[in-house]
Structure formats: structure tokens, C-alpha cells
């Protein structure tokens, strides 16, 4: 069963970009991702560029409208994701709790819909 882990945090939470704290956090992310691979649970996972790089697209009455910025202004923004393949929600929850950002952000777990082929 596949789950998407959506990694949210406030932009001022956690280590700042380019700071020594961020450098110190990197090994945790590496170890976490390697742990997923070793457990056979890794499907995909990438960090995202900061929220000020976001563009939102809507099509209304056939017109494509683009807006600078995210769909909704919220304190916590999406900063990355993993897609993992594990047995059930308890296993997904365990992995979510181990994401290095979990202590200062939040991890939303969304089951990935399986489209029958």
C-alpha cells in the first residue's frame, strides 16, 4: 500500500537555508532516506524549492490564470514529500514520525489511490 508523506513546516521553523544547523541536519535526511530504501519502502521523495518559487494555475472559462505564490496562504508550507510503500497506516505513521522535520513541522499522510489497470 502506497502512502504519500507531505512535509509541512513554517518557513521560519527548523534550520535556516545555508546555516551550519542545516548542514548538521543533512545527515539525518540522508539516513532517513537510506532507511526507507533499505526497508524496501522507498518509492520516491524530493525536497521542494521554497514557497516564493510557487506558481498557481487555474483554468476558468477556458482562460488559464496563473498566480504568483501558493494556492492558499498558510503558516506551514509544503517543503517536500516522500511516497512510501508499507503495509498499513500504522507503518506509515511510524515512518512519518521519523522524518527529521517532524519535531518542528508536520507530516500529512495521504494514502495513494491505486488506479486499476
Amino acid at each position: 500500500m502506497q502512502y504519500m508523506l507531505l512535509l509541512y513546516s513554517a518557513e521560519d521553523a527548523g534550520p535556516a537555508a545555508g546555516s551550519p544547523e542545516q548542514a548538521a541536519e543533512m545527515p539525518q535526511w540522508m539516513a532517513y532516506s537510506e532507511g526507507l530504501v533499505e526497508a524496501g519502502a522507498m518509492v520516491a521523495g524530493e525536497p521542494l524549492h521554497p514557497i516564493d518559487s510557487a506558481t498557481t494555475v487555474r483554468v476558468r472559462d477556458g482562460q488559464t490564470l496563473t498566480t504568483d505564490g501558493p494556492f492558499a496562504e498558510t503558516k506551514e508550507v509544503l517543503g517536500g514529500y516522500y511516497i512510501i510503500d508499507v503495509d498499513d497506516l500504522d507503518a506509515a505513521t511510524e515512518w512519518a514520525a521519523r522524518v527529521p522535520l517532524a519535531p518542528y513541522g508536520s507530516v500529512e499522510i495521504r494514502p495513494v489511490m491505486q488506479i486499476p489497470v
Binding site: 500500500m1 502512502y3 503495509d87 498499513d88 497506516l89 500504522d90 499522510i109 494514502p111
Partner: protein, 414 residues
């Protein structure tokens, strides 16, 4: 006649049938539907001298047959049929498997990924076997709203693959505390409804005590399960005297103790002793000890108030909140006098966090009244009346306030 036999076995067999079928098929909806079908068929077919020797086995076999029938009609299940069909029809429901299946059902319904109100609704529907309309009525929501709540919860269970399993030992205590919280919430909802004119809705108290009893049979070595069984028994023993003929709240000190339910008190005493023998002090057990001290006391004065204060002290050590602190203050007032009680209130409510809580003000009012400070007592009753939402409690507070204004006569006649 046949209906009454089905009714007799319903409470016992409903969770077993649902749990077994849910394990068979991994689908709560299907399990619930075919369990209901099996009980309906039993109601039609069981007559005097014409009922199965082992009703539980008959119900499981019937539900399994209905599940297979349904799978043959429904493509969603037909896909899984070849792998499962033989196993269904042959495998007997064994006692040890039945315990685990029922625990899996209960832990699944109370899974932490579900909202508390969904956990409560699911537990009452799937484990206790209440109908959607009964649950809706008990929780004062419309039947469509309750149906929607159940449908949404079951959809999440299916799409997110919420596990229905006995949690591993390292998580068991945490997960069990969620289950006990659900049972306790059902009881308190029955015992003190927040928004209805009727203070005690006995059906929910009965269901909660039944659920706690089921848990204690499935997990006989867990002191908190036993603690909850004892707590509910001691508290429920006073149900017959908690409100009077006019629906007004009766204070503990004015209740007719001869009308308390002796059987419930005996059960509480026996189960609490078993919990204490396990040697693990925890919250429900301590609350049961307090409720037991009240329910076994011959009168308010002849109550072990020092013991009650000590139990509250231990609850606070375990992380009890400010409500526990207020209850402790009342006990301190009884053990050491109203002035000491007011000092204890000050320790709890000094930071103003409870200023909007009616119970803070009714507690202070009672202690001021005992001290003879009519002005402070009536000011506190006024504040409590502004904040209270339950009609019965409001009427009680108004009566207390009225008796102060009338010259300090105690409405209880003391």
C-alpha cells in the same frame, strides 16, 4: 419467544460475529452487514425447541454463508473469493482466535487516526451493536448526520488501510488508553449530558459498563481496564438517586443511600481489589478508589475523606488536570474544613485559567457557604449560573442561590 432468545445472545454474540467476519474478509462494512443479516435470520427462524445448541456457531456460519452469497453477487468481493472461500467454510471460530479478533475490532474502531467522535460512534455500532438511529438519538444528532459520520470513518479505514489488529506490546498501553477513553466518554455522556434537560441517559451508562466488562474479559490482567470497570460500577450504583422525581439534581449528601445499587457496589469492590492486586497504580484505579470511598460510606460525614484526599494527591502526581485539583479541594474542605478547601482552590485556580469553568465557581460558592460568607457565596453562584449549560445543574445552582438569599437556609434541610 424466538425474538427473546436472539435478544439474549445478541450482546455476547454480535461483536464475535462482526469481529470474525471482519477478520475473514478484511472489510468492516461487509462484516457489519452480514452480521445484521444473520441476526435477522435468527429472529425469523429460532423458535421454542427449535434453536441451535450453539447459537454463536450458528450465527457465524450463517453470516459466513451470507458473505459468500454476497461475494458471488458483488464483483468487489468476487475477486478475493477463490483464495478465501474454503478457509471460511471450514475453519471453526476458536476461543483464542475469538479473543484476538474481538480485540482487533475494538482497537481498530478506536484507532488514533480516527477522530474521537468517530471512534465512539464506530465502537457503539460495531462492538456494542447499537443501530445508527440509537447512536444518533443518544448523542443528540440527526440520524443522517450520524450515518454520515459512520460512513466517513469506514471510508477512511478502507482507503488509508487503518489496521485492525492487537497492537504490539510496546504500544498496547497507549492504544488501550484511547479505548478506555472512548468507553469512559460513552459513560459520562450517559451520566451527565451536557446539553439536555435529562441528566442521566441510562442506556449509554449500560452500554459503557457492558463495553468495559467485555474488555475486562478480553484483557483480564490489565489493571486500568479493571479500574475502569470498578469506577463505572461505583458511579453507576448511585444512578437511582442522582436526580429526584422532578428531574432535579440531588447532591451526594442528600441522596438516599439505601437506594444505591448494592450489586453494582459489590462488583466495584471486587473488581477494584483485583486491580489493586496487580500492583500498578494508575488513573482509573485511583478514581475508582475515590468513587468506592463514596459509594461504600454510610453517610457524607462518615466518609474516608483523608483517603480521598490522598487518592487525589496521587492522581495529581500522575498528571491529573485542574478539574482533579478542584475535586481535591472539595475533599480537602471535607477533611480539614472549608477554609482549607478554599486555600486548595486558590492553588488550582490562581492563574485564572479556569475562570470560565462553572465548576470552579460552584465549588467556591459551596465552600463560602460552609464558611458562612453569604456575599461571596452568592457572587460565586451567580458566576456559575452565567456559565453552566446543563438545565438540571442550572436549576440546582439557582436553588442554592435562592436559599442563600432567603436567609441562608440550606435547601437540603441541614
Amino acid at each position: 419467544m424466538s425474538r427473546s432468545l436472539v435478544a439474549q445472545v445478541f450482546a455476547e454474540e454480535w461483536p464475535r460475529v462482526v469481529a470474525t467476519l471482519r477478520r475473514d474478509w478484511g472489510d468492516l462494512d461487509l462484516a457489519e452487514d452480514v452480521a445484521a443479516d444473520a441476526f435477522a435470520e435468527a429472529a425469523r427462524r429460532w423458535g421454542p425447541g427449535d434453536s441451535p445448541d450453539r447459537p454463536g456457531a450458528w450465527l457465524v456460519a450463517t453470516a459466513r454463508r451470507k458473505a459468500i452469497d454476497r461475494a458471488r453477487r458483488d464483483r468487489r468481493f468476487a475477486e478475493r473469493l477463490p483464495a478465501l472461500a474454503d478457509h471460511h467454510l471450514r475453519e471453526p471460530a476458536q476461543a483464542s482466535g475469538l479473543v484476538d479478533d474481538q480485540l482487533a475490532l475494538i482497537f481498530g474502531c478506536c484507532h488514533p487516526s480516527l477522530a474521537r467522535e468517530a471512534q465512539v460512534a464506530l465502537t457503539l455500532r460495531e462492538v456494542a451493536g447499537l443501530s445508527t438511529s440509537q447512536i444518533a438519538h443518544a448523542f443528540l444528532v440527526s440520524e443522517p448526520a450520524m450515518a454520515k459520520r459512520l460512513v466517513r470513518a469506514k471510508a477512511k479505514i478502507r482507503s488509508a488501510n487503518v489496521p485492525f489488529a492487537v497492537p504490539p506490546p510496546e504500544c498496547l498501553d497507549d492504544r488501550l488508553s484511547a479505548v478506555l477513553a472512548v468507553v469512559y466518554l460513552v459513560f459520562t455522556e450517559g451520566h451527565t449530558s451536557t446539553h439536555e434537560a435529562t441528566l442521566v441517559r441510562g442506556d449509554l451508562c449500560d452500554e459503557a459498563r457492558w463495553l468495559a466488562g467485555l474488555l475486562s474479559r478480553l484483557l483480564p490482567e490489565h489493571s486500568e481496564v479493571l479500574g475502569l470497570v470498578a469506577l463505572l460500577a461505583f458511579t453507576d450504583a448511585r444512578r437511582p438517586t442522582r436526580i429526584d422525581g422532578d428531574g432535579a439534581l440531588v447532591l451526594l449528601e442528600d441522596q438516599d443511600r439505601s437506594r444505591w445499587d448494592r450489586a453494582a457496589i459489590a462488583q466495584g469492590t471486587e473488581v477494584l481489589a483485583r486491580a489493586q492486586a496487580l500492583g500498578k497504580l494508575a488513573a482509573y484505579q485511583l478514581q475508582a478508589a475515590i468513587a468506592g470511598a463514596h459509594s461504600t460510606a454510610p453517610s457524607l460525614a462518615d466518609t474516608n475523606w483523608h483517603g480521598i484526599v490522598m487518592a487525589y494527591d496521587q492522581l495529581l502526581v500522575l498528571g491529573g488536570d485542574q478539574v482533579v485539583g478542584l475535586n481535591r479541594a472539595i475533599a480537602v474542605g471535607m477533611a480539614f474544613g472549608p477554609a482549607a478547601g478554599l486555600r486548595a482552590v486558590g492553588e488550582v485556580a490562581g492563574d485564572g485559567a479556569l475562570d470560565d469553568f462553572h465548576y470552579l465557581h460552584s465549588t467556591k460558592a459551596e465552600l463560602f457557604r460552609q464558611l458562612g460568607d453569604v456575599a461571596q457565596a452568592s457572587a460565586s453562584y451567580d458566576r456559575a449560573l452565567d456559565l453552566v449549560t446543563n438545565d438540571v445543574e442550572a436549576a440546582f445552582l439557582a436553588a442554592r442561590l435562592g436559599s442563600l438569599a432567603a436567609g441562608g437556609d440550606d435547601p437540603s434541610g441541614r
